[in-house]
């Protein structure tokens, strides 16, 4: 479809209008307990028409891709905007949809057609065999996720953007039983922008061997101790920690109250920007949609705003929020390019994209050797936080006890709870580049109507002091 040509044929009397065509092919291959559970592809394809009339945006999402269908959608969106304009939260101007032209492509080593569905199934079947290496393992699963997203965007102001994003995710999991103790270990169900190089057999085998050996460790392990102690978090737990206790509270639409009926509000106030000591001076957090293999990299957000790396928190001080151009107009907090929607049938809102904790200067050995008594945790398995993003409780799949500067034993069911700002101010060591990992999750929920979107979080290993740690039921 040539959206620029369609734009020229749409008949509307509006301040601005735009078309966003979204086509996404998502394929899941899953082999569970050596039986194929899923070989499923979904193809989501449609157009969202947005119209600005009398300072109010209205939208209409349609899968009718004919010119007449798009014209009908545009007229409907304009009528909605006009009706709502006398009750608008804010009267916008067209500057919140800047004129932009450009493209973005995920760099790939191995394209998606380099392996057939049958070949991917073969690898996943082998993964099941590698995972099933102990009689106490009762269930295993291997999953491959392939996503190819094409977003074309054109507007009445001359914008013309083309983006093609490839994401590959995988997971290898095993559940084992020892008497009444049952434990599950996974590979974290993470994903990245990349090609099918993720399914290199040596790499898959290495991941499966780690999962299957650690699940056996877990069913023989002690329960995580209870008490106030040092806490060391691996990057695949930091992913969740960053997401819930930095990302969501810094969303400007949330601070402005748009989310109060659903995900909640925020403890952060607009006047906190530039002042709040969010964490210790080791804490440096960036919004960075430019890292090539991170899950939520892109060239432009869904409002046509060009993406760039920005510091949100520098030396522990809160500088900037996660708000795009609409939120910038409403809040006067400088914007980042995070106006995103999950598909053609949802309107963009402020979202996380790639939100990262920058590396520090401590090696893994430095961090562990500095701990007198504490727990190291890998891979998130439980998460809950209040609607202001203060009181959280998170749990991990795999723990290690640290005693007198050394890792001594494996622990099962490790959990911790804390309050956001005191927690980040207890950050006492940040791992260096050698501990830095890039992770991502496809499952961030927000918005009304609801949207689930992909986000990336990269982080080094981190040490926090005096945290409430505890075990299972």
């Amino acid at each position: 479809m040539n959206l620029v040509e369609i734009i020229s044929k749409i008949d509307l009397d509006a301040e601005w209008f735009g078309l966003r065509e979204y086509k996404e092919n998502t394929t899941y291959h899953v082999i569970r307990d050596k039986n194929p559970l899923s070989n499923e592809t979904s193809i989501d394809h449609g157009i969202m028409v947005e119209v600005l009339k009398n300072g109010q945006f209205g939208y209409c999402a349609t899968s009718d891709l004919s010119l007449s269908g798009i014209q009908r959608a545009a007229t409907t969106a304009q009528e909605s905007a006009l009706r709502a304009s006398k009750y608008s939260v804010f009267s916008f101007e067209s500057n919140v949809r800047p004129k932009s032209k450009g493209e973005y492509l995920t760099p790939l080593e191995l394209p998606f057609d380099s392996l057939s569905a049958g070949e991917i199934n073969d690898i996943l079947m082998k993964a099941n065999d590698w995972l099933l290496n102990d009689s106490r393992i009762m269930s295993v699963s291997a999953m491959a996720m392939l996503v190819e997203t094409t977003i074309n965007y054109a507007c009445s102001n001359g914008s013309d953007i083309h983006q093609k994003i490839n994401i590959v995710g995988s997971d290898y999991s095993a559940t084992a039983k020892n008497g009444q103790i049952i434990q599950t270990r996974t590979d974290g169900r993470s994903g990245n922008q990349m090609g099918l190089e993720r399914f290199n057999q040596d790499l898959v085998r290495e991941k499966c061997n780690k999962v299957s050996s650690q699940v056996i460790e877990l069913i023989e392990a002690e329960q995580c101790p209870t008490g106030e102690m040092s806490l060391v978090l691996a990057p695949d737990q930091m992913m969740l920690q960053i997401h819930e206790s930095i990302g969501h509270p810094l969303e400007i639409d949330r601070i402005l109250g748009d989310e109060r009926n659903y995900a909640g509000w925020s403890f952060v106030q607009l006047e906190d920007f530039g002042k709040l000591q969010y964490g210790s001076d080791l804490m440096n957090v960036t919004f960075d949609p430019t890292i090539s293999n991170e899950m939520a990299s892109y060239g432009f957000d869904d409002g046509g705003f060009k993406a760039s790396k920005e510091h949100l928190i520098k030396d522990g001080v809160l500088l900037r929020g996660l708000g795009a151009l609409e939120s910038q107009e409403r809040s006067e907090v400088p914007a980042v390019a995070n106006f995103r929607s999950c598909s053609w049938n949802r309107a963009p809102i402020d979202r996380m994209a790639n939100l990262n904790l920058e590396a520090g200067d401590s090696s893994f050995e430095d961090i562990i050797s500095s701990v007198e008594y504490g727990v190291y945790m890998e891979t998130n398995r439980s998460w809950s936080i209040d609607d202001y993003r203060n009181k959280f409780q998170f749990g991990s799949e795999y723990g290690k006890l640290i005693e007198n500067g050394k890792i001594t034993k494996t622990l099962r069911d490790p959990n911790y709870r804390a309050i956001t700002v005191p927690f980040w101010n207890s950050l006492s060591k940040v791992g260096d580049e050698s501990t830095f990992e890039v992770h991502g999750t496809p499952n961030c929920g927000k918005g009304e109507p609801n949207q689930v979107i992909r986000v990336g979080h990269a982080s080094p290993i981190c040490l926090f002091d005096n945290i409430q740690v505890f075990g299972g039921a």
Binding site: P36, E40, R260
Partner: protein
Amino acid sequence: MKEYFFNISEKVINTLSNDEHLTISINGENSEFIRINNAKVRQIGTVADASMGMELIKNNRKVQISFTIQRDMEKDYKIIIDYLDTMRKNIVSLPEDPLCVLPENHGSLDEEYTGHLLNPKESVDALLPVMSGVDLIGIWASGDVFVGNTNSAGQKNWFSTETFSLDYSLINPLKKMVKETYAGTHWDQNDYESFINSSKEKLSMLNEKSRKIKPGSYRTYIASAGVSDLIDMFSWGGVSENSIRKGRSSFIKMRDEGKSLSPCFSLKEDFSSGTVPRFNSNGEISDIELPLIIDGALKNTLISTRTANEYNLSTNFASQGEYLRSPVMKEGLVEEQDILKELNTGVYLSNLHYLNWSDQLGGRVTGMTRYACFWVEDGEIISPIDDMRFDDTIYNFFGDKLESVTSKSRLNPSVGTYGGRNLGGVHCPGIILKSFELTL
């Protein structure tokens, strides 16, 4: 859409060879959404979305595809045939699936519920004026939702309904909130305005300054909306037979260790309200009722036909994910007007928030209190409380610590819209607990 779906499906099924088995499904909606903040419009729009799905089985191999349709018979048929050809090419390279479920004809269902909805041209002016004077935030969703499936064995199912919902919160200057949902199938402007005005009156109960309470065990009342969130957890590694068998369920203690819940707790699947389709995505039709937990004892789990094949069990035609579709919890004896008296001194929780298993195998759930929650002394509400984190097990709050259940059950409508507007909800009463663990 029903005629369109069955006509196009018939054409597609007629192209199959004898060794090909096909299930075709459709899901869609025509919805108006209005997002409201501070009793004003934040976003407004309409969504016309429909997708079809096909599951092809041949020689014990299975492949699935779903795709957005344009609702144009000629264009869509061409797309479907192209996808079917792709599936035929791919299926030969896939491994055999000994557990795959061949389509059968279990009989057909056809349910269409017609409502009387607000015309989208009138919705803004009908909804907004009565909200004036308060900080109201929420989401209006209105329109029709349809689900259907058919298969090469001849089964045909259809369900469509026209519904609306305004899910909203009212917020006072102390940032205390009242949560409500006004939902139905037939719009009544006077009833709606009365409902909103009643919410405004409830908000005035939250004008007292909040009390901070310390972590610990408290006598607790959890209202129906909160109980509904707790029951929802059973759909996520709870009542699924497959989850139990694969070591990922909070119900394993009931199955393997002889644990039980309180004699006051009974739960069933009950489709008699007609708010959700009784057929699953395979087209299999569940019984009207399926008792799950009776007087605290686990009687049945949700068993899909695939799980039945895997473990040599009888299916009860659960969904593929074996989640609750129409749960109903049995009422108890405590009358609404006696709740505060029965609670005596403790906490009154109207809503919970962001629940997750903190130890799934142990049945332990963590989450937050939210919205209108109060400290109660000697049967009287004293003040709102600050939000607290809880962390407790189903074997406590639906087990040993469950003292009594209220006599009035309500439907907590499912207003979620991930992937499309949800249907149905959880029908449940409130519960009074001897103790509940508040931890932070």
